[in-house]
Amino acid sequence: MIRTDALPKAQGALAYAPDVQLPGMLWAAYVTSPHPHAEIRGLDTAPAREVVGVVDILTADDLPALLPREPEPGRPLLATRATRFVGEPVAVVAAETLQAAREGAARISVDYRVLPAFTDLEREFPHWPTPEEMRSHPQVNAHVHARRGDFDQVARTADHVHRELYQTAMVAQVPLEPHACIARVQGDDWYVLTTTQTPFGIREDLADKLGVPQERIRVEGTWVGGGFGGKNEALLEPHALLLSRRTGRPVRLALTFREEFLFSRTTQPALFWMESCLKDGRLVARRTRLLLDTGASLPGRDFALGYSLGFTLGPYRLEAFELEGYALRTHRPPFGPHRAPLAPQCTFASESHLDSLARDRGEDPVAFRLRHVWRPGDRTALGQVVGPFAAEAGLRRAQETALAWKASAPPGHGVGVALGFWSTGTGAGGEARLTLSPQGLVLLQGEREIGNGSIWQGLPGVAATTLGIPRKPWRCATAIPGTLPSIAGSGGAGPRRRSATPWRRPPRASGANSPDGPPGPERWAWESGAGPSP
């Protein structure tokens, strides 16, 4: 299938957030912490104010006057008394030009007293900790424990227990398009145009962080130059909005690539203690114990643990399992999902462990997987019944291909196999709406096309097929939050599945902000395959 957005993208004809300029716009730049943990003893902005073109400087001291309530503890918009990770924003400078903003940011001097930092999980935990150690550990954010059967009991009667430790490193999304937004606050209208996977989520997050009611916030998404899980949270938007509020002018804020690695949300290191029991040559039980570095994240949040830990069991038949994990707060950048929250890491540990188990037994790794992989009708660890499942067919094809590759592999090249799976379309719901408008038949939905085609091409396709109407001419529009009920963000193929099932007659919309009213670029972002939003 030829993507209709592909050619205009290849021609450079579509506008992304970093391409947008509004009249009278100010440019902003961050001052970030060079230390993972340090006390801020003083902050001198005077030299920055002397830079020609600098208009405003936002620091933590300005926030109480701007925010109607105290921010959630541990989640400051700007570092207050101490910095919690390298790259944490300490101040933001707005100026007439980007050069002036950067120059101003460089001249702000911060007096730091460096404090001891916890940044190395492996050093802190050479062994899986005892429950006593963890009960009193000050850095524990969350704890997850789940089991079926009695792993220890199975282990006692097993022929062999295979034990290994795996570790994964920090990984940042770094989409090729850096985070960028333009904010414009006029009276009670808090408008921000931004590159995001989830305009609705950003609005909720902004309401939370700024204490502004959701109805007053308008988030407009642009074409997204890659997200990979990193464009789900309001990161720059609060700062840009507050600067716009203070200066009365539109403010553009974008991350540098260095900031992209540090201040955007990254997946942090994890340690996996893996144990598998074999009985009569069969894998019967597995235990995973996971320590996850969640960086300078909030206490009490589970993050990816509960969601992803199950992936360490793989899509394999097991009689018993035990999963236990701790999320630890450290002085590394706050945790965020990178191409599925922690699932790639869990799959890496699970599949590597399985390979080494097969190798130990002298068995072909694909054959070993084939003996254990779920078949339709099997039960998953959580008790769901497996429906149509392509893993067996995939493994058989991999087996054939691997042989061919092995035969043709150049010297020094190896061939391996891994089996991954992913759940999609679960959890948060979504809604899309079809409207016959003066512009034609319009599909209104609330998610952004992140590059895999599931919104731009997939949704109209599913709708057309379901309703038995031609695929063209169609327009796909993105709702500004407020015009549709809350909609989860774009991740993987989830949007298509969520927004497309089930298709039914929508309830009649009401209110001035409904899609029945006259559409305008301020309310809906119109898109067409032929060029940038009109």
């Binding site: 993208k9 021609q11 090729l176 890659g226 392509a390 094809r397 043709s408 150049p410």
Partner: protein, 177 residues
């Protein structure tokens, strides 16, 4: 400001004179913010990603590492200037047909780099491995590069190399048990 000087250059075939260009202005910013040519994308700004690739006198350069004032009297071509020409369209079509445009942020840079590479080898088409390795300065975070290699193969009418997975791993759910 002190040090600002006028600059005259040709951009996409027409002469441009800009009254005051600071000495430290990058070609990237000049094109995007003073001439409004946003098809040239800003990625890393440090020479690492290729998103900002333009042609200077027909050769590809990274506009984020090029000072605008070095362009005095030079001919600069951006993706806007090239789009619509046969050589650009061939490359753009190859990318579109191979599914090599996902988010598309990297694509204009790839197009510019490829057009310049293809011009360099007029006496004979470069082979696929050469072309692929010479595009090493262009990053794509979405595709995993395989579809881009497929686009290159399409462009060269070359077979897709066997050591790269063809559609081996695209398991067809319709055919699963």
């Amino acid at each position: 400001m002190r040090g600002d000087l006028p600059l005259t250059l040709r951009v996409n075939g027409s002469e441009q004179t800009l009254p005051a260009v600071p000495a430290d202005t990058k070609l990237l910013d000049l094109l995007r913010w003073r001439l409004g040519l946003k098809g040239t994308k800003e990625g890393c700004r440090t020479g690492g990603c290729g998103a900002c690739t333009v042609l200077v006198n027909g050769e590809s350069v990274l506009s984020c590492l090029t000072l605008a004032r070095e362009m005095e009297g030079q001919e600069v071509t951006t993706v806007e200037g090239l789009s619509g020409t046969a050589e650009a369209e061939a490359v753009q079509r190859a990318f579109v047909e191979a599914g090599a445009v996902q988010c598309g942020y990297c694509t204009p840079g790839f197009v510019m780099a490829l057009v310049s590479l293809r011009r360099e080898r007029r006496d004979g088409p470069p082979d696929l491995p050469t072309l692929a390795s010479e595009l090493g300065g262009n990053l794509c975070r979405c595709t995993g590069y395989y579809s881009i290699v497929r686009a290159l193969a399409g462009l060269l009418a070359a077979p897709i190399p066997p050591e790269l997975p063809k559609s081996t791993f695209s398991v067809d759910p319709g055919r699963s048990p």
